[in-house]
C-alpha cells in the first residue's frame, strides 16, 4: 500500500547569490514506514535536488546539528517522524544563527562565543598536586552537573526565544544552563559575585522575560525553566548582597 503523498515547503536561500530572494520551494514524495525528516531530506537531495543544503551527522539526536523550524516549531529533524506531520510541512532554518544556505545554519560560532563569555571552564587558582588523590564529588552533585551537560547545543532554545531574536547579546537558555552547570560544580571556585559579573545583567539571566519557548521546545528535555530559575535566584541573592558603590 502506498503511503500518503507529503509536501515539504522548504526555504531556499543561498547567501552567495543574494539576488535570488529567499523563497519556499515545494517538494513532494511518498511516505514510508518509520520515515523521519532525516530520511525525507536525504531522499529529496538524492532524487530531486542535489543543491539542497542541510546539516546532519548522527541522525540520533546526539550531535545537535539538524535543528530547524518544523512547521514553525524549533526541533531536531532527525527525531521528527513524518507520521506526526500533516500533509504539508514547512521547513525553515533556525533563526538567530548565521544562515549558511537553505536549512543550514552556523550554531558553532554562536556557542563558542557563548562559552567564552560565560567562561565555561572550571575556575580554580589552587596549586595542582599530581600526587594527591582526586577530590570526591557527591553523587547528587554529579547528577545535577550531568543533567545540565545533556545539552547538545542544537540551538532550538535560542531560535525559539523572542529575546534572543531581538537582542544579539543575550546568552539565552543554553548560556544560562551552562552557567548553572558550573555553579553546581564544587570544583569551580567562582564566587556568587564573580558569577554576577557574567550573568547578572540584561544579557544574562535578567534579560529573560519568561516566555519559556526554550523549555517547551528543548528536544532533549533539559529542564531549562528550572535551570534559569536557579541561576536567577542565585544572582538575585548576589545582587542583593552586593555592596553599593563597590
Amino acid at each position: 500500500m502506498a503511503g500518503r503523498e507529503l509536501t515539504f515547503r522548504i526555504m531556499r536561500y543561498n547567501p552567495e547569490t543574494p539576488e535570488v530572494k529567499p523563497h519556499l520551494q515545494d517538494f513532494k514524495l511518498f511516505e514510508e514506514p518509520g520515515m523521519t525528516l532525516f530520511v525525507v531530506l536525504n531522499k529529496i537531495r538524492e532524487e530531486q535536488d542535489s543543491s539542497l543544503r542541510f546539516d546532519f551527522v548522527c541522525r540520533a539526536s546526539i550531535c545537535g546539528s539538524c535543528g530547524m523550524l518544523v512547521n514553525g516549531r524549533p526541533t531536531l529533524a532527525c527525531r521528527t517522524l513524518t507520521k506526526d506531520l500533516p500533509d504539508v510541512t514547512t521547513l525553515l532554518p533556525l533563526p538567530v544563527f548565521k544562515l549558511l544556505g537553505d536549512l543550514s545554519v552556523d550554531t558553532g560560532t554562536w556557542f563558542r562565543e557563548m562559552s567564552i563569555r560565560t567562561e565555561s571552564w572550571v575556575h580554580d587558582d589552587s596549586e595542582f598536586d599530581p600526587t594527591k588523590q582526586e577530590e570526591r564529588m557527591d553523587n547528587e552533585e554529579a547528577l545535577k552537573i550531568y543533567e545540565a551537560e545533556r545539552c547538545i547545543e542544537c540551538g532550538c532554545c535560542i531560535g525559539g526565544c523572542a529575546t534572543a531574536n531581538i537582542r544579539p547579546g543575550f546568552i539565552g537558555a543554553a548560556g544560562i544552563n551552562r552557567v548553572a552547570r558550573f555553579m553546581v560544580d564544587p570544583r569551580d571556585k567562582r564566587t556568587e559575585q564573580e558569577y554576577f559579573e557574567v550573568v547578572g545583567s540584561e544579557d544574562g539571566v535578567f534579560g529573560c522575560i519568561g516566555l519559556m519557548a526554550c523549555d517547551d521546545n528543548c528536544p532533549v528535555g533539559v529542564p531549562l525553566r528550572g535551570q534559569i530559575a536557579y541561576v536567577r535566584r542565585k544572582m538575585a541573592s548576589a545582587g542583593w548582597k552586593m555592596k553599593v558603590g563597590r
Binding site: 523550524l69 512547521n71 514553525g72 516549531r73 524549533p74 525553515l92 533563526p95 525559539g160 523572542a162 531574536n165 531581538i166 554576577f196 559579573e197 547578572g200 545583567s201 540584561e202 535578567f206 534579560g207 529573560c208 522575560i209 519568561g210 516566555l211 519559556m212 519557548a213 517547551d216 521546545n217 525553566r225 528550572g226 534559569i228 530559575a229 536557579y230 536567577r232 535566584r233 544572582m235 538575585a236 545582587g239 552586593m242 553599593v244 563597590r246
Partner: protein, 210 residues
C-alpha cells in the same frame, strides 16, 4: 568596554530595574484586586458603597492612593518600557517570530505589551476622572449609564485583569518553585472571577444610573 560604558558602569543596574518591575507589578496586582473588592461593596447596597467611599475620603486615603499609584504605576511603566520592542525593526521581528513558532506564551507576551500600552492611557484617564470628581454612588452610576463610559470601563476591566494575570504568571514562571501549568489554570480562574466581580458591579451601577 567602551569609555561611556566604563564611566556609567553599575553592575547591579539591570538587577535593580528587574526588581523594581517585579515589585511594582505585584503591588499593582494587589491594588487591582483590592480595588475590585472595594467597588463590589455596591453589591451590598448604595449605603455601603457610600460609607466605604466616605471612610476613605475622611481619613485621607484617596490622596494617599493617588500618590501610591503615581509612584508605583510610574515605576512599573518606566521599568517595563525597556522590555517593549520599540524600534520598527524590532517590532517586525517580534511579530514574525510570534506568528512563526506557534507558541502560546510568546503570543501572550505580544498581547502583554499591547494591553500594557493601552492601560497607560486608559488608567490615567480613569484616575484623573475619579480624583477630580470624587467617589459616590450617584456620580459613578451616572457615569456608567453613559454608553461611552460603560464601554470604557468594560475595556479597562478586561485589559487590566488580563495584564495582571499574565504578568503574575510570568513572575512565578521566572522564579521557579510552582508548577507552570497548574499555576496558569489557577490564575485563569482567579482572573475570570475578578472579571465577573467587576462586571456585576458595573451592571449594578448601570441599572442604578439608567
Amino acid at each position: 568596554m567602551q569609555l561611556q560604558k566604563a564611566m556609567s558602569y553599575n553592575p547591579r543596574g539591570d538587577f535593580l530595574v528587574e526588581t523594581a518591575q517585579m515589585v511594582s507589578g505585584l503591588l499593582l496586582v494587589l491594588f487591582l484586586w483590592a480595588h475590585m473588592l472595594f467597588v463590589a461593596s455596591i453589591w451590598l447596597g448604595q449605603g455601603s458603597f457610600n460609607a466605604l467611599a466616605g471612610f476613605m475620603d475622611r481619613y485621607g486615603l484617596l490622596p494617599l492612593t493617588i500618590v501610591f499609584l503615581v509612584l508605583v504605576f510610574g515605576t512599573h511603566v518606566g521599568a517595563v518600557l525597556r522590555r517593549m520592542p520599540r524600534q520598527y525593526a524590532e517590532q517586525r521581528v517580534v511579530w514574525k517570530h510570534a506568528k512563526l513558532i506557534h507558541h502560546g506564551d510568546t503570543w501572550s507576551w505580544v498581547f502583554q505589551s499591547i494591553t500594557g500600552s493601552a492601560i497607560i492611557v486608559l488608567a490615567v484617564v480613569h484616575i484623573a476622572i475619579v480624583s477630580f470628581a470624587g467617589i459616590n454612588v450617584h456620580l459613578s452610576s451616572l457615569r456608567v449609564a453613559n454608553p461611552g463610559f460603560l464601554v470604557f470601563y468594560i475595556v479597562l476591566l478586561l485589559l487590566s485583569e488580563y495584564h495582571a494575570s499574565v504578568g503574575l504568571y510570568r513572575i512565578l514562571v521566572k522564579w521557579g518553585f510552582v508548577n507552570r501549568y497548574s499555576m496558569k489554570r489557577v490564575l485563569n480562574v482567579v482572573s475570570v472571577l475578578f472579571i465577573v466581580v467587576g462586571g456585576v458591579s458595573l451592571w449594578i451601577l448601570y441599572s442604578l444610573g439608567a
